[in-house]
């Protein structure tokens, strides 16, 4: 069997691969090493990131390239933008995507727009790695899923991997990409293991992946919700319903063709997105299919999302907040006239 490593280790490897290949790649963020300037730690990191994702990097690359920053997101994300514009290839870690509130200007008004405003006379080869997602009991300011917000901004590419192998290949692509990429890591995926190739490899940004083939309906799911969709698809298969699970892998650019071709084949579409229900990736993909694939559809497009509320702390409520296989089955039962689906 091929080598299995965790989602977190896959990300760590991607950073290592690119840093070994290109000395202009640097990593900066809060406690990405930790314990800066402490004699008793020597070369050791104290944390290697709050979740340990970047552990060990400082030992190999040193503190000139693995930079602990003050807790000042506007400061270091902004610095990463202009370091990128002036020849570096930085990876800025925004510990939680919720903290974008503290540095949105640097992303939205600076990084995303410089190239356009300068008439193409600049490029911003910057990756902002950020953690997102509910299910960790981390409450309203540490659990959001905000990739939809970034997808709306021209000048930003948005990547949301669902598996360790995708995470590694997509992150290497993102770091080597000449544009700004916001790379979303679901905190509940970090310990999930999967087969991951050794060494350097890339997965193109803008290429969806069909995670499961099927003829009866298409489920487009984003990030860890791909796994929720796959679970639902397995349950549907027990009823003889074959769902095709499409993982866009990047939301900007979006592989429209793969989604439309799948819907053309299945005639039914469910979109699973754990973001809030308004103006999110699900509504965007829904609009795409309504616009360009209306004739393929035999039933209304259905969305399974979080409700229009902040992420609750209480486990009892947070479990209800997230999409689930049951919620997917419930909407599938509306598309495919078979009441027994909901009781699978």
């Amino acid at each position: 069997m091929a080598r299995q490593i965790s989602f977190a280790d896959a990300i760590n490897e991607a950073i290592k691969e690119t840093m070994r290949n290109d000395e202009n790649v640097i990593l900066l963020g809060e406690d990405v090493a930790g314990g800066a300037d402490l004699d008793h730690l020597g070369d050791e990191d104290a944390w290697g990131g709050v979740m340990g994702v970047t552990k060990g990097l400082v030992q190999e690359f040193g503190r000139d390239r693995i930079l602990d920053t003050p807790i000042a997101e506007a400061g270091y994300v902004g610095a990463a933008v202009s370091a990128a514009a002036t020849g570096m290839r930085p990876i800025a870690e925004l510990m939680f995507n919720d903290f974008i509130g503290s540095c949105l200007d640097e992303v939205m008004n600076q990084g995303a727009k410089l190239r356009y405003m300068f008439g193409g006379h600049a490029k911003i080869p910057l990756v902002i790695r950020t953690m997102h997602g509910a299910g960790f009991r981390a409450a309203a300011q540490h659990s959001q899923t905000l990739y939809g917000m970034f997808t709306a901004i021209p000048g930003v590419k948005v990547v949301v991997p669902s598996s360790p192998a995708d995470a590694k290949g997509l992150l290497i692509s993102a770091i080597e990409d000449d544009d700004m990429v916001v790379f979303f890591e679901d905190k509940t995926l970090y310990n999930v293991k999967g087969e991951v190739p050794e060494g350097h490899y890339t997965i193109p940004i803008g290429k969806a992946d069909i995670k499961r083939s099927g003829d009866d309906l298409t489920i487009v799911a984003i990030g860890k919700q791909v796994n929720t969709a796959l679970t639902a698809a397995d349950q549907l298969a027990q009823k003889g319903i074959e769902a095709e699970v499409v993982d866009p892998r990047s939301l900007s650019p979006l592989d429209e063709n793969t989604i439309l071709k799948s819907v053309q084949k299945t005639s039914r579409l469910v979109i699973v997105d754990e973001a809030n229900p308004r103006c999110n990736a699900a509504t965007d993909i829904s609009a795409l299919v309504a616009d360009k694939g209306f004739d393929y559809l035999d039933a209304p497009i259905k969305m399974v999302t979080a409700p229009h509320s902040p992420v609750p702390f209480s486990p009892a409520l947070e479990d209800l907040y997230l999409p689930s296989p049951e919620k997917i089955l419930a909407v599938v039962s509306e598309l495919i006239d078979d009441e027994s689906i909901v009781t699978i």
């Binding site: 809060e30 406690d31 930790g34 314990g35 800066a36 300037d37 402490l38 008793h40 730690l41 050791e44 104290a46 944390w47 709050v50 602990d68 920053t69 003050p70 807790i71 000042a72 506007a74 400061g75 919720d98 903290f99 509130g101 503290s102 960790f136 009991r137 981390a138 409450a139 309203a140 300011q141 540490h142 409700p307 229009h308 509320s309 902040p310 609750p312 702390f313 209480s314 486990p315 009892a316 409520l317 209800l320 907040y321």
Partner: protein, 336 residues
Amino acid sequence: MRVSEVQQESLTAAKAKWMYQKMVEIRRFEDQVHETFSTGTIPGFVHLYAGEEAVAVGVCSHLDDKDYITSTHRGHGHCIAKGCDLKGMMAEIYGKATGLCKGKGGSMHIADVSKGMLGANGIVGGGFPLATGAGLSAKLRKTGGVAVCFFGDGANNHGTFHEGINQAAIWDLPVIFVAENNGYGESTPFEYASSCKSIADRATGYNIPGETVDGKDTMAVYEAAQRAVERARNGEGPSLIECVTYRNYGHFEGDAQTYKTQGEREQHLNELDAIIRFREQLLSNNLATEDELHSIDENVRQAVADAVEFAEKSPMPEADQLTTDVYVNYKPGGEE
């Protein structure tokens, strides 16, 4: 150490015992959360305040319910010092329906607006503008209230530090900015992350008073806060107090704390401990007797045990609570 005569005048025995009780409540509460968290009963992240009691209590002893505080992710101590109910707090940390925020906020967002406690906060630096706004509100509504912004050394490098304090200063708002410099922003030393020698030095740039005190000396915090609160209540504007302190536990529960040295930890848990020191001060100045303090210790132990029992026995929120409290008034789908 002797409490000075001036302090003795301002600090009655009753007040001193209240302060001791609050400090012990914080310590016991946090030690309990630490213990329970390790069993897996408490969901999510918790950031414990144990070790920093002198700051919250030394400052909040000058406040009442009309005064506001903003807090941090390390907020339990501020909540207790500002009068939040231990049972409601513990239930909130457990995610129960009886929690102060109905289980919706959790440890990092405990609030009790009726007590002037404007919330623990998950965003570093979130409190500066909020405290400034609360100070503006108190000034314009002429309530006589003040607002206190508790913040960590990590937050003193955040952009909101500058914006919040500058605004409070130009408008002479009744705000007290209280830095809790516990030496580490997460795992990063203060000396690495901050270009200043002390956080108090930064007050100069805003033309407001700034001073550094031993944040583990309850009376030193008490006195500095008294000066700042009086100045604020007199309409003379904001102050900045830096309290040099230490957190007994990690940044969050589960933090291995390799950035700390064994020596510093032992020193802070023993001879530098704020509660031990304050206890000795109370006894040597005849502000309390051994029996009285012992009885406080026992009552607090019981109160925290009661809070745990209350939290454990309380129900989880009902499903329909998921989408309530988002708005005051909202019609999904709009008006008919």
